[in-house]
């Protein structure tokens, strides 16, 4: 009797289609348990907020009263908003000061480290600023750049040269660009250095046999083969640079710096959202920044043909 029941039961199990059996399997159950917390976190704090961010930008949400759907009103306002365009301009100026210099410097340093010494200690020292939080890095440089008691102006004064007001309206953005370059360049150097290790040494030997010097082989061998790494470095650092906030906050929160000189896009977003509680409009500015970041990333990836490698 029991054996008969068992065989009927097993026949019934057999009769179930494969996909049902897979859904009901023990392995699926455990996989579900393993994935659930991570998937819940991903949906709640990354996927859903991105969608909600788009939705909010079409509302007049202010955290207190009920949010109404107002269509494209926020975007119409955005196009006519002088502060938005001014912030975009300040941010672009910052990115243009930050990225080319930082990338060139990292490329140079990585090549130097690769050629001169592969010592982990040297790489550690170059990476050191990256381990210091942006807040602390900015505080140190504000001390160093200080007009009265900073060492740079101290030495300029000793040399009877005019002092430089690093933190005034016209120089604060270049100063912040320098501060972030100083902190970040070690990280980029490390990435480029890792990329250099993937280039086969025979290529340099071949270039040398063909009579290429160091300089020529850098341009004809190193740079083209670094393309995937450089694409990654540039895409991520440009997106990050457009989102600059930490150092600006330390140097100039909440006013936005001397004469509003540091009112970068993210300052404007946080100002709208958390000082004026204009969540809907802040979301519209964030969407604009999102689209700008995405567009720049796509253009860069296309330009670099990043998914292909010359090594084949």
């Amino acid at each position: 009797m029991t054996t008969q029941a068992k065989s009927i039961e097993s026949m019934r199990v057999q009769a179930r289609p494969a996909w049902v059996r897979q859904w009901l399997s023990r392995e699926t159950f455990i996989a579900g348990l393993f994935i659930l917390p991570s998937l819940f976190g991903l949906m709640t704090f990354f996927v859903f907020p991105t969608l909600r961010g788009f939705y909010l930008s079409f509302t007049n949400s202010d955290l207190l009263t009920r949010a109404d759907f107002i269509g494209l009103d926020n975007y119409r306002k955005l196009i006519a908003d002088g502060q938005f365009w001014s912030s975009l301009q300040i941010t672009t100026y910052y990115v243009l000061l930050n990225i080319p210099f930082q990338t060139a410097l990292a490329l140079g340093l990585a090549t130097l480290v690769d050629r001169l010494t592969k010592s982990i200690a040297v790489r550690g020292v170059i990476l050191l600023p990256f381990l210091i939080p942006v807040v602390m890095v900015t505080l140190v440089w504000l001390t160093i750049f200080d007009f009265e008691l900073g060492p740079i102006n101290g030495f300029l004064h000793l040399a009877s040269l005019p002092k430089i007001a690093f933190l005034n309206q016209s120089l604060i953005i270049p100063s912040l660009a320098w501060i972030n370059t100083w902190r970040h360049v070690g990280y980029v150097t490390l990435l480029v250095f890792a990329g250099l290790q993937t280039i086969p040494k025979e290529l340099y030997e071949a270039a040398a046999i063909d009579g290429a010097g160091e300089w020529r082989s850098f341009w004809s061998v190193t740079l083209p083969l670094l393309r995937p790494v450089m694409a990654f470095v540039l895409v991520t650092s440009v997106i990050g640079s457009f989102q600059v906030w930490d150092s600006v906050a330390v140097a100039a929160i909440p006013s936005g710096g001397p004469g509003g000189a540091t009112r970068v896009i993210f300052w404007y977003i946080t100002n709208l959202a958390f000082t004026r509680f204009n969540m809907g409009y802040a979301a519209a500015v964030a969407v604009a920044l999102f689209l700008i970041s995405l567009a720049i990333a796509l253009v860069q990836l296309r330009w670099f043909r990043a998914n292909t490698s010359d090594l084949g």
Binding site: W19, Q22, W23, E27, T28, I30, A31, G32, L33, F34, I35, P37, S38, L39, G41, L42, T44, F45, F46, F48, P49, F54, L63, G108, L109, R115, L116, I120, V122, R123, G124, V125, L128, L131, P133, V135, M136, V137, L139, V140, W141, T143, P151, G154, G186, L190, L191, F193, F232, Q243, W245, A249, I253, F266, T270, A283, A286, L289, F290, A297
Partner: protein, 312 residues
């Protein structure tokens, strides 16, 4: 004969080395050393200012050693000096609850690193080894999240935390990162895929279940990868400013203020007059000790992990 060959082989690189010690190489070393100096001097300046006497800073901007060596700034920052005396030292009258901020930062960091390692590893293992429906579709969701800009997340996440009544609490700061990240899952999945399957198969033959295999076979083999995730998660959390600033109540809630936010507020409250530079640098120096500790213990691993983080 053999000796002769090996002699000439040894001589060849030596001659080459001698030839390479030319002007170019000297200049290259010069550049590298210059950058190392630019990297280290500001780090030294933290120490120099932290041990100086605040009142005498102004008169000695160019002194390379601490001006009138003292521990005053440390005592002031750690609240060992009464407010009126702190003011008399040229400090800031408000006592920094340094130990409280340190404790909050430690709790936040501990929760986020342990939570994200656990949930990342579980999900990554399911994606790497288990068979279940929709696996590849779900995983592509992680990939999409990995490459999406995150500018839109700040406002919706803040609204969510606010609805939960978590603004100004530790759980508000911890929530978004606690369940892991797309990068962590992706990184660990790649690592698990590279593990030799045979050990897992052998454990299976010995009657181990999925959870047993994961815990007793996979985790012990994955210590290097888990260490990398730990280091990156620790660094990101310890350095973070923006989310802890807004979710923690902009420094107005003492019990939910992390060190970076505390230093930001400390600086922001001293916009007029000469800021308490020695206090800021003393606070910075103390805040850096955990990072320094991590670097001393795991040195090479830290460099390798950060180098690795670039290859998402």
């Amino acid at each position: 004969m053999a000796a002769g060959i090996s002699m000439s082989r040894h001589q060849e690189p030596r001659q080459a080395a001698r030839r390479r010690i030319n002007l170019g190489r000297v200049v290259a070393w010069g550049c590298l050393i210059l950058w190392i100096a630019i990297t280290l001097l500001p780090v030294y300046w933290i120490v120099r200012v932290a041990f100086s006497t605040q009142r005498d800073l102004l008169a000695n901007p160019t002194s390379l050693l601490p001006v009138n060596f003292t521990f005053d700034a440390f005592k002031r920052v750690l609240g060992l000096v009464p407010p009126d005396e702190a003011l008399a030292q040229g400090g800031y009258s408000k006592v920094l609850n340094f130990w409280l901020y340190l404790r909050t930062t430690a709790i936040v960091t501990l929760l986020i690193t342990s939570g994200s390692i656990t949930f990342n590893a579980l999900a990554a293992y399911a994606f790497a080894r288990l068979r279940f429906p929709l696996r590849d579709k779900l995983f592509s969701l992680y990939i999409v999240t990995l490459v999406m800009p995150t500018v839109l997340n700040l406002i919706p996440n803040f609204i969510l935390i606010q609805r939960l009544g978590w603004v100004g609490t530790i759980q508000g700061i911890v929530a978004p990162a606690f369940l892991g990240s797309a990068f962590g899952v992706f990184f660990l999945r790649q690592f698990f895929l590279g593990l030799n399957r045979e050990l897992e198969e052998a454990a299976k033959l010995d009657g181990a279940g999925i959870i047993g295999i994961f815990w007793h076979v996979v985790i012990p083999l994955s210590v290097p990868a888990l260490a990398t995730i730990f280091i990156l998660s620790f660094m990101t959390t310890w350095n973070d400013l923006q989310w802890p600033y807004f979710a923690g109540g902009a420094g107005r809630v003492e019990g939910a203020t992390v060190l970076t936010v505390a230093l930001l507020v400390f600086r922001a409250q001293q916009q007029s007059g000469i800021p308490d530079f020695t206090g800021m640098m003393a606070g910075t120096l103390i805040s850096l000790l955990p990072m320094v500790g991590l670097f001393l213990v795991l040195g090479r691993k830290v460099v390798d992990s950060i180098q690795f983080s670039g290859f998402k």
